[in-house]
Amino acid sequence: MMQVADSFETLPFLDVADPNFSIRSQAVLNARDESWCAKTPYGLAVLRYDDVLKLLRHPTLRQGSYRWPTHVGVTGLFARWWENMLLSQEGENHARLRRMANPAFSPKLIKDLRPKFEILANRLIDGFAAKGECDFIAEFTEPYATGVICDLLGLPFEKWRELADIAGDMGLALGVTYKQDLATVDAATQKIFDYAEELVALRRAEPSDDFIGTLVKANEDKSKLNDQELLDMIVLAIFGGIDTTRNQLGLAMDMFIRHPDQWALLAEKPELARAAVEEVMRVRPTITWVTREATETFTYNDLEIPKGTTLHLFSQAACSDPTVFPNPEFDITAERNPHFGFGGGAHHCLGHFIARGDMTEALKLLAQRLKNPRFNGDVSWLPDSGNTGAIKMPIAFDPA
């Protein structure tokens, strides 16, 4: 054990538990120059591209955030769901659930949704375009991200506010105040499960081949997907799709406001929208790190990593690693190595085809209709690590 402690001793240290810690700070870049990984209060931070790529799918690592409720000493409705849903499962159980869920997230289903994304984006832009300003989060990214989920679930758009509030309250569970917020978190969790049950009852009465219909079909053989697992999966789709897309689109606008030439280029060449999504997620991902945990003691790059060690794979730092990205500046026309904004390996984001599709449509239309976007007041931000993004982003623009 001494040897392990000694080998960690020589590593650079990053205080990721400090609320002021920034994943984009010089300290992170210095640590990345010095070593492939750094020591943190939680375990290790992996900083370089090749190591993140390898460790994302390393057989000795499992997904690492399943124990969060236990860490904060909380049980209840959210904790039960969190510990049992797809992302927290491993091995054969995970494979079975993933096989059952895959058809509902197929790229084939997304094709039908694309025109709906376009209608939704235009409808939201229509709501504020004439005044030449908006809060980009409250008036676009939040209703858009939630409206996409409404489309996916077959709910009317008017439900978006209610769903967004539920997701927001549930999201408190992933913050450090989970224990204090437990009553709010579990009340929201109860509401979302009530929703899921209603949706399932509707599709059982009237089968369909949409998202919920596909999952309900998988549930016909209860040994493959039981009733609780079906509901857990629907709740994951709702919860997992709202904050992530809301935050990622806000981060996209932040990048483009800082790179007006790139925005003008996107307006001129809408076919670059898909590449723009990838480039934004490379330089400014909302998921700034991916968590893994060692299931056994193992040696990697001559470092002995004890069983139970948490590894934070710094997707953002890895994707500006100069050995892989010699010209890391934001450029939507550049050919790039893949980013890690959707994680990777067995737990690669299930909803990525939807997310890529809806963000592509949104950026394409926004670039065409909002010219010269600029900040129009103070932007409020979530902390700069973990899952990040803007809470409020007043912008002004010239309506096209």
Partner: protein
């Protein structure tokens, strides 16, 4: 049915191994191996794997 994988874009996530374990697997050295001409009976599984591949690297012909 013939199965090909574009290894220049494959990132070894292993989603195909999850979706169609009788067609795709990982070798001991971590590389991806697959049955190049599986039984027609495995078509649904193979197509599910091609669908699930995050990099869309699987080609079925």
């Amino acid at each position: 049915m013939k199965i090909d994988v574009d290894l220049t874009i494959c990132l070894l996530h292993g989603q195909c191994v999850i979706a169609a374990p009788e067609v795709f697997s990982f070798a001991d050295d971590g590389s991806l191996v697959w049955v190049t001409d599986p039984d027609e009976g495995l078509r649904a599984d193979a197509e599910a794997a091609a669908d699930a591949c995050p990099e869309q690297a699987i080609i079925i012909s």
